[in-house]
């Protein structure tokens, strides 16, 4: 509900006389409700569904990470899986070591820091060199492609095409993330924290600067902001978040493989976000949920056409509805409001 959606919501609230602080409370209330709902799911759901839901949340985090970069600062990362996969490989490699102490915290921290470091180096090099827009997007694509090829060919480190498996569970002292339910609860906790932090980020002064950099870079620069600094900070944070999502994927999947770094998975992240709705943190999760749930329903019969459909989705988002599903919901709501208001005016 940020960006355009937020502005519309604020306008609607003013129109009916609801104070904006009430709206904000309603949003946080909805977050708490969603967290509680996610928490009680394992009480009555089958383990297949719990696994799916955990996966959707991890994918939603990856899409939210891309949203910070693409939705809010306007820089498309075509290779966002590079950071996701790097997080997964880092934590997987650490968890495969049996002799080190503090494996869990180390896997979590390095699984976030190493992708963040790559993101920082990339963003710092490119944004400060005024490499933005299409060239930036292409370089992110190349990074993802090359990391995937490296993961396939560096057998001694990554296990090649077979990937990494047989990792020890992610453990923090007495707390261990081992079973499916434990992995799921861990993912829910981290997802809620990450969402809250991301929400605070986009509503902070830096969040306003992110909007400004996207909308008009020159004017933002002339007001004294370093647009390169804003973009670099946000890209680094997003890389850390994508790495975190990768770390969370390891206990769920018990398997790390090269395509988690690759261009195909990067494209999926783009599709989730574009379908859900850019510039909306909720949209990132919505897109990841709907696309993946659709895939799990349809893939038995239509598996080979599902990837083809993503191409169609991307074209639809560009040509018909740039704000994705949230945009469609908003349009329907606006139309209903107009009908309601029209009938009231007639009465």
């Amino acid at each position: 509900m940020a960006g355009r959606g937020e502005a519309a919501a604020v306008r609607a609230a003013r129109r009916v006389g609801v104070s904006i602080s009430l709206l904000r409370w309603a949003h946080w209330g909805a977050v708490v409700l969603a967290a509680v709902a996610l928490w009680v799911v394992p009480l009555f759901a089958r383990s297949y569904f719990i696994g799916l839901l955990g996966r959707f949340l991890v994918f939603g985090l990856a899409a939210m990470s891309l949203d910070l970069v693409w939705g809010y600062t306007g820089q498309l990362s075509l290779g966002h899986a590079a950071f996701f996969g790097l997080g997964a490989y880092t934590s997987g490699l650490i968890l495969a070591q049996t002799s080190w102490p503090f494996l869990g915290p180390l896997a979590l921290v390095l699984g976030i820091l190493i992708p963040a470091a790559l993101g920082f180096v990339m963003a710092g090099t490119l944004f400060y060199g005024k490499v933005v827009g299409a060239y930036f997007a292409i370089i992110t694509l190349l990074v993802s492609l090359i990391l995937e090829q490296l993961a396939i060919s560096m057998l001694w480190l990554t296990g090649g095409i077979n990937g990494l498996y047989g990792m020890k569970p992610l453990a923090f002292g007495p707390l261990s993330v081992d079973t499916l339910n434990e992995a799921y609860y861990f993912i829910v906790i981290v997802s809620v924290i990450a969402y809250v932090l991301a929400r605070l980020l986009v509503e902070s002064p830096l969040g306003k600067a992110m909007d400004a950099v996207r909308v008009n870079e020159k004017r933002t620069a002339s007001l004294g902001y370093s647009t390169a600094a804003v973009r670099t900070v946000v890209f680094t944070l997003a890389a850390a978040l994508a790495g975190l999502a990768g770390v969370l994927y390891v206990p769920l999947e018990a398997f790390v493989y090269p395509s988690q770094l690759g261009v195909g998975f990067s494209t999926w992240i783009i599709v989730w976000l574009a379908i859900g709705g850019r510039r909306s943190l909720v949209g990132a999760f919505l897109g990841a949920f709907i696309i993946n749930y659709g895939q799990s329903l349809l893939s038995e019969r239509l598996g080979r056409y599902w990837v083809l459909a993503t191409g169609v989705f991307l074209l639809i988002v560009v040509l018909v509805q740039p704000d994705g599903l949230l945009g469609i919901i908003r349009d329907v709501k606006d139309r209903l409001m107009r009908v309601v208001r029209g009938s009231r005016a007639g009465a």
């Binding site: 498309l76 075509l78 060239y135 292409i138 490296l150 560009v318």
Partner: protein
Amino acid sequence: MLTTLLNGVSLAAVLALVAIGLAIIFGLMRVINLAHGEMFILGAYSVVALHQWTGSVWWGVVLAPFVVGGIGWVIERTLIRRLYQRPMETLVATWGLSILIREGLKVFFGGGSRNLPIPIRARLHFGGFSYPGYRIFLIFVAIVVMAAVLWLFTATDFALKVRAVIQRRDMAMAMGIDAARIDQAVFALGAALAGLAGAVMTPLITLNPEVGLFFLARSFLVVIVGGVGSLLGTVLGAVIIGLGNAYLSFLTRPVFAEVALFVFAILLIRVRPSGLFARPE
């Protein structure tokens, strides 16, 4: 050593054909066509289809540029022209299009890999050294086509119109140049060149619908190194990437050769954003 040199030159020849299409489309329309790798693949599968039909590779090599050029023309008319002035949306749309073409080819031809026979079996001998005749043919084709493209974009009436549209689109249109038709022609030509590259490469590679991405990626390296300002720069970029790839693959594993060239390109874009050979703006 001569073998490595010629391998590099033949890779450079193909990369030049692919990258020049990418570069002229970007230079004229500021559109980066992420489906350009799929134009390469469409050229390759044109050869496959015509090979199944006629039993010869040559028909495909001759007809592929026309087939792919026609497809490019349709893409420009239906998709690209809606997206001018929206560079980021163009990236997303052409990426979607590339998925559509790639997966469509998988449905139509199957996703597996295939190898076509090399149509020229003879080897060229000079001294104690011999080299596959087909690769020599490929280098020859690329040189002829590149010369034709350079002539087209420097010495013809068409060249004048293209330059006018690049420099001042509205003024060119006021002078009676149909800018939309120039766009269509250039986009179709760029697609046709990529299609030709795919067609002539088909007998030399293990073909599957995924290889387009690798040629797209290498073409980007060419464009980053050579810049998009001049056609000669793109050709020189292709020579650097092609020879670099051949020699580095000779010294180490191919994947590390790709990584080294990529790092080189990143450092270069930081120091000289407009490429090695273009005059900085």
